[in-house]
């Protein structure tokens, strides 16, 4: 027998953020009139200690069995309020949030009356859903205290060492013959001008003999199955195939350097048109000499505008991988949409290296925007003091490179400040190119079920709040696989990913979201469509019925929407729980009958 819903509604002023626009006392009085609402109050800050205490107190005092908080977005505050419910012995899934800040007071600041009416609607919708909420139990699994790190670059080695030093066993695989990734191939690093070997060698020295690290070179991933705490991974390497069982995975497979297509700024046509990476290498080998002038061009193949939506519309029916392959192909010639973040400092670093070796060499940097953040500003000043010349370009008017009779190169550029065209005879033209996603990233992302963003890099679970998590529990990302980073940022993300993975392995147990698919076996005819639709392989037909393995289900609900027998619904996002909100909105009087 279901108990009668007794809902407590807590409406937040959020200081003046909500209360300055929405008439909060009015909304509170309105909430009290709604069916099933046993108690309603308003607080200055519901998320404050006092506000949370008030919720717990009201649950006890008014015998509440559902809680609605009308405040900000559930994307930031739902976990907090759920935890509060739990502390008051109320199942956290008997909580619902009404977003009256981001979706109401903040976007209707000049329409207080209408905003108040809208807030009442939003509260009524949340109350309606709350009536139909059911307690849920989050699935719990054991976590094996072994990790797999993919990629032995700076980020991967840092992550591996961090976990190994905490006592966890780590498999570290690298597709190349040598560890060290891109960094090992560099000469000097900004802003200290230290040799890259000073960073890479100690890492390699620490990794190789470590008793908890098994380093496997020329080894790649063949297949991954399983779930957080218990992944089965098939590897392939020089000694043949191998199966390992791990609890967590860190992807640190890095990125590649963009190679300009032949002819772009005469690259590939004249030998003296090179990339910054090639310049770095030539400085290391002392092949640059004491030239009269070096001209550098920034943002070559980068910051080429957002991906045009029409570009995507050209292939509306393709799936992610197919689409991205097309984007990658299209991008190959045009360049990439994002700022690669490291090229400005890289160019300044090489300019300083040249200038310090050969002060009479004129170094000219042609740029659109210069991004030197934090302490790198000093690095930029140092280049200015060495008389490196920075010349601003305007968008859409790229410099032109030609060869003049004496065999020298010549750069024709438009100086945005003076408004004149300027000509620079040059011994070397150096192109600053971005870091781009690896070609095999798509295969890897597919195997691990990590989404790829429109920039082609792997996507973090949340750009701000969960920068090294992926949306696959137990799989983390470090280094440039999620976007361009310099060495120190790669080390930070390596440490961070290791810390996130260690939490799981240290606890030995993990709970996952209870938003999973449920099959009504009476209705199910075992057709297997859900099995084919699910991107995670969660449903499986056994003895003629679909069985959902909860721990694999991510809760997207695609199977529920497509099931021919309508036998599948989602926990916490059931058909009735979704539609009751719409019904409460459009037919307010229907709320009386909900849950009856």
């Amino acid at each position: 027998m279901k108990e009668e819903p007794r809902i407590g509604v807590f409406i937040c002023h959020c200081g003046i953020n909500i209360g300055g626009v929405v008439n909060v006392p009015d909304v509170t009085e309105y909430a009290k009139t709604l069916p099933h609402v046993a108690y309603a109050e308003h607080n200055l800050y519901t998320c404050s200690e006092a506000g949370l205490a008030a919720i717990k107190e009201a649950i006890k005092e008014h015998n509440l069995n559902r809680v609605v908080v009308a405040s900000c977005t559930p994307r930031t505050h739902e976990p907090l309020f759920r935890a509060t419910c739990k502390e008051a012995d109320l199942n956290p899934y008997l909580f619902e949030m009404a977003n009256i800040r981001e979706h109401c007071s903040w976007v209707h600041m000049h329409e207080p009356e209408k905003a108040t009416e809208k807030a009442k609607d939003i509260v009524r919708m949340a109350v309606a859903k709350a009536v139909l909420l059911e307690p849920q139990t989050e699935p719990e699994v054991e976590v094996k205290d072994v990790s797999l790190v993919i990629g032995a670059g700076v980020a991967g080695m840092t992550a591996a060492l961090s976990m190994a030093n905490q006592g966890f066993k780590v498999y570290l695989i690298e597709k190349e013959k040598e560890p060290g990734g891109i960094t090992r191939k560099l000469y000097k690093l900004y802003p200290t001008l230290a040799d890259s070997s000073e960073v890479v060698e100690p890492l390699i020295e620490a990794v190789k003999p470590h008793k908890n690290i098994e380093l496997m070179m020329s080894t790649t991933l063949k297949d991954v199955s399983g779930y957080v705490g218990n992944f089965n991974v098939a590897l392939t390497g020089p000694t043949g195939d191998r199966e390992i069982n791990v609890g967590t995975i860190i992807v640190a497979s890095g990125s590649s350097n963009y190679t300009p297509p032949k002819g772009l700024y005469q690259y590939g046509v004249y030998d003296h048109v090179i990339t910054q990476r090639e310049l770095d290498e030539k400085i290391r080998k002392g092949e640059i000499g004491k030239p009269e002038r070096i001209v550098m061009i920034q943002c070559v193949g980068a910051r080429k505008g957002e991906i045009n939506p029409s570009e995507l519309e050209a292939f509306p029916k393709s799936d992610t991988a197919e689409l991205l392959r097309k984007i990658l192909k299209a991008r190959k010639d045009e360049g990439w949409p994002y700022c690669s973040r490291i090229c400005c400092m890289n160019a300044i670093k090489n300019a300083i290296l040249v200038k310090e070796e050969s002060p009479q060499t004129d170094v000219v940097i042609l740029f659109g925007d210069l991004r030197v953040y934090k302490e790198y500003e000093d690095f930029y000043r140092r280049a200015r003091d060495l008389e490196v010349r920075f010349i601003r370009q305007i968008e859409g008017v790229p410099p032109e490179i030609a060869q003049v009779p004496e065999g020298k190169l010549q750069a024709l550029a438009y100086d945005a400040l003076s408004g004149f065209e300027v000509t620079f005879p040059a011994d070397w033209v150096v192109l600053s190119t971005p870091l781009i996603p690896n070609r095999d990233e798509i295969t890897l992302a597919r195997m691990l079920k990590i989404p790829i963003g429109t920039d082609g890099f792997m996507m973090e679970a949340h750009l701000k709040l969960r920068p090294v998590d992926t949306n696959v529990d137990g799989v983390f990302i470090a280094g440039t696989v999620s976007g361009p980073k310099d060495v120190s940022e790669s080390i930070i993300s390596g440490e961070a990913a290791a810390a996130r993975a260690s939490i799981l392995m240290g606890n030995r147990k993990v709970r996952t979201d209870a938003i999973t698919a449920v099959v009504d076996e009476e209705l199910c005819i075992g057709c297997g469509l859900c099995e084919e639709i699910c991107p995670y392989g969660a449903p499986k037909i056994e003895e003629g019925k679909s069985k959902v393995r909860e721990i694999l289900c991510r809760g997207c609900g695609s199977c529920a929407a497509e099931c021919p027998r309508r036998a599948i619904t989602m926990r916490h996002f059931g058909d009735h729980q979704i539609l009751v909100q719409v019904k409460a909105l459009l037919i307010p009087e229907s709320l009386k009958e909900v849950g009856a």
């Binding site: 979706h103 995507l312 799936d319 992610t320 689409l323 991205l324 695609s558």
Partner: protein, 254 residues
């Protein structure tokens, strides 16, 4: 068919405030709408958001049920192609949407009332612009025929429960003093009056005190007609004044 019946109401309701239901996926579009808030991008108040985890969750019946319940428009907003948190939920939604759109059209509802759009977590500005544009578009289309039909049906049921109309209908079963033809005419106009009055009282019951203009927007009735009814309803002690709003009288149920 429904379209023609409500032609006049729609015209009268041109200035009406549409109600649009938006199904937003948790990861992109709901976050995009959050960002519009954080960035203080203002947009009309006509939208109500229902959060789902992924547009892949959208059963075609959700859209149709939402229309049947009387939403003037339905927006489904998800991640851009390639950005789905669940890899391909948005592609599944896109395929499904072709069928939904055709079905909506075949019911006789303008297909523009139903839209599928991609809004990422970083596109707060796009979200605000989209809501502005869609609100205006639906305003031009007029109120949902379902909503008008439900209001009118409810009012008609209430009218047939009222003493006045029951008396007229009942009375026609026995001998009346005037010609049948004339009686019919009077009975018809009383029925029409009662339906309209119950539309007015229904609107007042649902939304609280309202001005004549607001009642007109909700019911599609001409303001002059509403004023006539209000006078009658006041006389019968059903409706009374309830202060002023924008220099217009507010009316409420007693």
């Amino acid at each position: 068919m429904a379209k023609d019946v409500f032609e006049e109401e729609k015209k009268a309701g041109k200035e009406f405030e549409p109600l649009i239901v938006a199904y937003c996926c948790n990861w992109c579009s709901y976050a995009g709408a959050d960002l519009a808030g954080t960035s203080r991008f203002e947009y009309p108040t006509n939208i109500r958001i229902v959060r789902i985890m992924c547009t892949g969750r959208m059963d075609p019946t959700f859209v149709l049920e939402t229309l049947r319940m009387g939403a003037d428009g339905v927006l489904i907003a998800g991640c851009h192609p390639g950005d789905c948190h669940y890899q391909k939920g948005n592609y599944m939604m896109e395929k499904r949407f072709d069928y939904i759109k055709k079905a909506v059209n075949s019911i006789g509802i303008e297909p523009e009332r139903v839209r599928l759009e991609w809004v990422s977590a970083s596109e707060g500005g796009k979200w605000a612009a989209l809501i502005r544009e869609m609100t205006e578009q639906i305003r031009q289309l007029g109120p949902s025929p379902f909503r008008l039909m439900r209001r009118k049906t409810n009012a008609t049921i209430d009218a047939f429960k009222s003493q006045r109309l029951r008396w007229i209908v009942g009375r026609s079963q026995v001998k009346v003093e005037i010609e049948e033809e004339k009686y019919r005419q009077v009975a018809d106009s009383i029925m029409q009056e009662e339906i309209e009055r119950h539309m007015i009282t229904g609107a007042l019951k649902e939304k609280g005190p309202l001005t004549v203009e607001e009642i007109s927007q909700l019911t599609g009735l001409q303001p002059s007609r509403i004023v006539q009814h209000i006078i009658a309803l006041r006389r019968s002690g059903i409706v009374n004044e309830a202060g002023m709003k924008n220099r217009q009288y507010l009316y409420k149920l007693i």
